[in-house]
Symmetry: none
Subunit: 199 residues, 4 copies
DNA sequence: CATGAATGAGTCTTCATTCAT
DNA sequence: CATGAATGAAGACTCATTCAT
């Protein structure tokens, strides 16, 4: 009787849900939680405003869902750090490049902004608290120390240097301004922060 | 005749005005124009919400006043760049330090955020347009080139290197997160972006 | 000890009170109760805003006092109607002129506006209710009938004609617009409403 | 696809818009711009306060829209004056009757009040300035003069007599108080202002 | 399922009123 | 007594959310 069978409906549902999540991700990433109006999400997703609420109980749930899923992904990615290959320099560079890459840009931006701004739903805040950032740093320290020993990286407290370095990378991701003239600083330029500049 | 003379009243008015401006500066700097509620400004200034409107016609005027005054100050500061002393490295370092300094932090953050976000009152946007950022960069190029010749700075397009460098400094100012463990990256660390790392 | 003795203080008090009442009368008359801000009254009276409240407990009390006093005066004036002299035409004309006269303009306007607008304090409304407008009309009817018999006024229900006539006079008082070109209609013109136009 | 087609939605929108405009017209006409609260308009229209703002950007825009539309209509009506028929007396009477008629009452009252009170939005004031009232008067003068020659109207400066007459009509429209006993003065009564009273 | 009209709680702003001086 | 700075409750407007269609 119904023109669409159950399976087809599920496909539509999933697709719509994804569509909304993508739109929301981008907007929350750039504008934060309170700065993102549901009307903007609807416009970005190309749907009506009301429809969002058939897929997510509230703006809050939509946001929290995104936090949840992104953190799970991040967890997995963190695991994959061990499979980085090449010299220490190359490994860090690859990682950096990955972070600055268009494809994952909004995911990083979203999480970073959520962390920075206190202004997120309680539930989302709790999820974020469960996932420490330091884990990543810890994994990178051995690589960095190796690089120091190889003379690729400048000497100094590895933890501090990496913390500062990634702090800067994070800031760049968050700001995302398209520099009109020169574009984003390239990765080799950024890596100077870690090297002796001899390379 | 009057219980408080005119002079005393003016002092009170000026003080209140300043108090409101300081509170607003801090909040606008961190949260942007729409993200800052007048109730927050009142709370930060320790006054009632209504009082703001005896000193400023509207939230919009308060914001625009800040933009105006800060840009005038910036203009003056730009003039002072010529009086920087020391080696090129030291000059850039001093400048950087000044930008990251607590005392001027909110001023920079305010202007940077205003520029980045389109979401400011029309009037404020027009004031910002009148003041180019590139002026500062142009003033620094000769210094930088001198530093390159002296071997203090790495070679490369001076304009591009400086643009990238200050872009990063700007991002740091904008983000302002207190890194729990190590604090903000120190200036010598940041300056590695410009040097060969030999120093 | 005090530079002003009690008597002098009372003089000041009375004068100030009168000053405030005059200012308020004018403004309430023109703009009605809610349309008149206390700041306007203060400005019109040339005093500070706060001072009003040393002489009147509230805007409401100020308004109600005015209603009260004006109604008492009106009562007296109504008595005086019997002393009008001249022909019926002249008597009505004199009365009309008196109503349109600058000196009593605001008093009439005030009361008329108060009556028309429901938007006045409860207490004021109750005072107004106690004083019927019809009393005046009733007093005029004999005069008007006399005029009809004398051929000065056109025939017809005297009460209705007078009611309409004064309704129009009231409207003119209420509107008070300065007609640029010709000024307010003059009384003889208005009186045509009551006469045969033969005069 | 959509549950209501575009046409139906437009009907709803137009109807609501009209509903709001009617409610606003009535209230603005009676109470003026600042005296009319949006909550009153909502109540009068039988809708929620917020809904007004989906149809009009602001109270100001709602008011200005009304001014605009009413002035356009007035323009057309002014054109139609030439098609008045009957004797001069009948023509003026018809016109007067039209102005006092229930159906157009609020439109006249609205415009008259807007003109009288300076307290309207800038944009509305500018529209009003573009439309002179004198045009109507000028059109009526020939008719009136004809009536004078025919002995229907009393002699005297036609422009002045008409100005006074319509000034009074305007006042009546503005005041609109329902006279309990006798209702509004009827038109023949008012016309006595212009005639010799012989008729 | 999808739409967008409708609602109401919260923000910006005004204004009567209070109060320190 | 007189001032004007300060307050808070109410009006204008926005936006997440609901719901008839």
């Amino acid at each position: 009787m119904s023109p669409l069978n159950k399976h087809q409906l599920n496909l539509i549902r999933d697709e719509r849900r994804e569509q909304i999540k993508q739109a929301a991700l981008k907007l929350f990433a750039r504008r934060g939680y309170p700065g993102t109006k549901t009307s903007m999400i609807a416009a970005e997703a190309g749907i009506s405003e009301g429809l969002i609420f058939r897929y997510f109980k509230s703006k809050e749930e939509l946001f929290t869902t995104l936090v949840q899923e992104l953190m799970e992904e991040a967890e997995k990615e963190t695991e994959n750090l061990q499979y980085l290959s090449g010299s220490p320099y190359e490994q860090i560079k690859t990682l950096t490049q990955g972070m600055l890459d268009e494809s994952s840009k909004y995911a990083f931006m979203f999480i970073l902004r959520a962390r920075k701004t206190g202004e997120i739903p309680e539930a989302a805040a709790r999820i974020l608290e469960q996932h420490s950032v330091d884990v990543v740093l810890d994994r990178l320290i051995p690589i960095f120390v190796q690089g120091q020993q190889a003379g690729e990286f400048s000497s100094g407290d590895p933890r501090k240097l990496l913390a500062w370095y990634f702090y800067i990378i994070n800031c760049l991701i968050l700001e995302e301004v398209e520099m009109e003239e020169y574009g984003l600083p390239d990765v080799d330029f950024l890596m100077r922060l870690l090297t002796n500049g001899k390379s």
